[in-house]
C-alpha cells in the first residue's frame, strides 16, 4: 500500500517535470514551424540584410536590422548606465557598508526588479521623457534614451545583487591575505576581490543584458513603434519585442505572411537570449569549480 502511494507520487512528480519540458519543446517547435514557413516566402538573406522593416505596408520589406538595432540600442543604453552604478553599489555593499545597512538595503534594491514593467514604461513616457525634453529640445516624445534609462533602473538589481553575491562568495582568507600584506581597502577590492569574483560579475551582467533584450513593455510604451535603423537615441525606434506586441494586438489575419513575421522576429529574439543564457550557464559552471 505504502509502496503504491510512493509510486504514484513519483509518477506525478515525473509527469510534471516532463510537462515543463514538453511545453518548452512545443514552444520552440511552433516558433520554428512558423518561422520556416516565413522563410519559404522571404529569403533569409533579405531578412538579415534589408535595412527596412515594413511588413504592414504595400511596399513590403522584411529586414530585421531596424528592429534589431532598436533592441540593441535600448539595451546598450540600459547596460551602459546600469553596469557602473550596479557594480559600485555591489562593491559598496560588500566592502564598505556595515552588515545592518547591507541587510536593509539589499531587499529594497531587489524590489526595483519587482515593479511591473508597464509601470516603468509609463514612468518613462510621462516623467523621464518630459524631463529630458526640457534640456534636450529636439527630443521626440518616443525615444530610446528614456526607455533605456528606465530599463537601467529595472535591471540595476540584477547587476548589483548578483555581483554582490559573487563578491560575497570570495573567500574571506583572500581578503585577509591582502590586508595582511598592508593593502588598503581600495587596493584589496580592485586587485583581489573583484578579479576573484569576475566570472560571477560577468554572469550578472549577461543576465541583465538578456533581460534588457527581452524587455517588452517599457520599450513598447516609451520607445515608439517606428522601425528605424539608427543609433540616434532621441528619435522613435521599435524593438523586436515591441513589434511583436504591436502585431499581436492588431488585426493581422492568421496564417498570413504578416502574421508569420511575429515568429521570425520572435525566433531572432529567442536566439539572442538563448545564446546569452548558455554563455552565463557555462561561465557559472566554470566559476563554481574555482573554489570547490
Amino acid at each position: 500500500m505504502k509502496k503504491l502511494k510512493e509510486n504514484i507520487i513519483e509518477k506525478l512528480l515525473f509527469s510534471s517535470a516532463i510537462f515543463t519540458i514538453l511545453t518548452t519543446l512545443s514552444i520552440i517547435g511552433i516558433l520554428l514551424y512558423e518561422a520556416i514557413q516565413f522563410f519559404e516566402e522571404v529569403p533569409l538573406f533579405d531578412f538579415l540584410t534589408d535595412t527596412q522593416w515594413t511588413p504592414l505596408f504595400d511596399d513590403k520589406h522584411f529586414g530585421i536590422l531596424p528592429l534589431l538595432s532598436g533592441t540593441l540600442l535600448t539595451s546598450f543604453i540600459a547596460i551602459a548606465i546600469a553596469l557602473p552604478i550596479g557594480l559600485s553599489i555591489a562593491v559598496y555593499l560588500n566592502e564598505y557598508a556595515n552588515k545592518k545597512f547591507r541587510k536593509i538595503i539589499k531587499p529594497i534594491l531587489e524590489l526595483l526588479a519587482a515593479v511591473p514593467s508597464v509601470v516603468y514604461g509609463f514612468f518613462a513616457l510621462i516623467i523621464v521623457t518630459p524631463a529630458l525634453q526640457s534640456f534636450i529640445p529636439g527630443m521626440s516624445g518616443f525615444n530610446s534614451l528614456s526607455a533605456g534609462i528606465v530599463m537601467a533602473i529595472m535591471i540595476l538589481p540584477f547587476i548589483s545583487s548578483l555581483s554582490e553575491d559573487a563578491l560575497f562568495a570570495v573567500p574571506k582568507n583572500l581578503r585577509e591575505a591582502s590586508y595582511g600584506m598592508g593593502a588598503t581597502r581600495f587596493q584589496t577590492v580592485f586587485r583581489v576581490t573583484i578579479p576573484a569574483a569576475n566570472s560571477g560579475i560577468i554572469v550578472s551582467v549577461i543576465l541583465a543584458i538578456s533581460r534588457a533584450i527581452g524587455e517588452t513593455m517599457i520599450v513598447a510604451i516609451a520607445a515608439g513603434q517606428q522601425p528605424r535603423l539608427t543609433a540616434n537615441p532621441l528619435v522613435p525606434v521599435e524593438t523586436i519585442s515591441a513589434y511583436i506586441v504591436q502585431v499581436s494586438l492588431g488585426d493581422v489575419p492568421h496564417n498570413s505572411l504578416e502574421y508569420r513575421t511575429i515568429f521570425a522576429a520572435g525566433i531572432t529574439l529567442f536566439a539572442f537570449t538563448f545564446l546569452l543564457n548558455n554563455v552565463s550557464f557555462w561561465l557559472r559552471k566554470k566559476y563554481q569549480r574555482k573554489y570547490a
Binding site: N98, K99, P171, N173, L174, R175, E176, A177, S178, Y179, G180, M181, G182, A183, T184, Q187, R191, V192, P195, A196, K290
Partner: protein, 252 residues
Amino acid sequence: MPTTIIESKDFNLFYGDFQALKNINFQAEENTVTAFIGPSGCGKSTLLRSFNRMNDLIEGVQTTGETNINGISVYDKSVDVNELRKRIGMVFQKPNPFPKSIFENVAYGLRIDGIKDKHIIEEKVVSSLKKAALWDEVKDNLKKSALALSGGQQQRLCIARALAIEPSIILMDEPASALDPISTSKIEDLIYELKKNYTIIIVTHNMQQAGRISDNTAFFYMGELIECDDTKTIFTNPSNLRTQNYITGRFG
C-alpha cells in the same frame, strides 16, 4: 643584550562584551622563534593578530594596554595600519594564494607598494621564492596559476609572498595544520632557516612541532598568558600545573 622586537604590555582585547585576551604581558626578541600553544579559543591567534592589527577587520573589537613593535606603539592613533602590516609578514592556517599567477602572487606586495620597476620586482620575486625554498619547483612555471600548486607549495608561496616586502617579523597562524607530514617538515625546515633573519611567532596545535622549531614557548589558557619561557623549560619543567597538564595531553 638581545633586542626586544615585539612587546605586549597589560594588553586586553574584547570582542563586544567578550574578553578574549586578559592582561597579556609578552615579549619576543629579535631572530627568535616563539611558539604559541594552548587549547582552541584560548586567545593565541587573537594575540598573534593583535601584533599587526588584523583584529581591526572584525567589527566591535576593542583593546586596552599597549603593543610595541620595534619600539613603536601600534595602537597609537598616528600609526598607519597599512604601513605597519607591510613590516610584518603573515602566513595563515589555510594556504590562501590569490587566483593569480605564481609570479603575481609574490609581486603583489611590491605592486601595492607602488613599485613599478620590472627589474626590481623580478629580482625580489626570485629571491623571495628562493628564500621560501620554492624556486626550484616553480622556476619554469612562474606564469602558471598559483591554484594549480599543491597545498604545501601554496603555503610556501604564501611565505614567499610575505617575504617579498622584506618584513622583520613573520606571524604564522598554524601554517602547517592543513598540510601533509612531508610538506609540514619542509615548512619547519624553512622556519628554522628563516629564523636567522626574521623574528617569528608561530601558533601551533602540534606540541612536537613547537618543541622542534621554537626557542621560546608561550602557553595560553582562557585568554590568559599562563607562562612563557624557554621551550626546553616549558616542555620539561613547567612552573604551572595547567601548562604541564596541557603539554602532557591531560586536557586540551
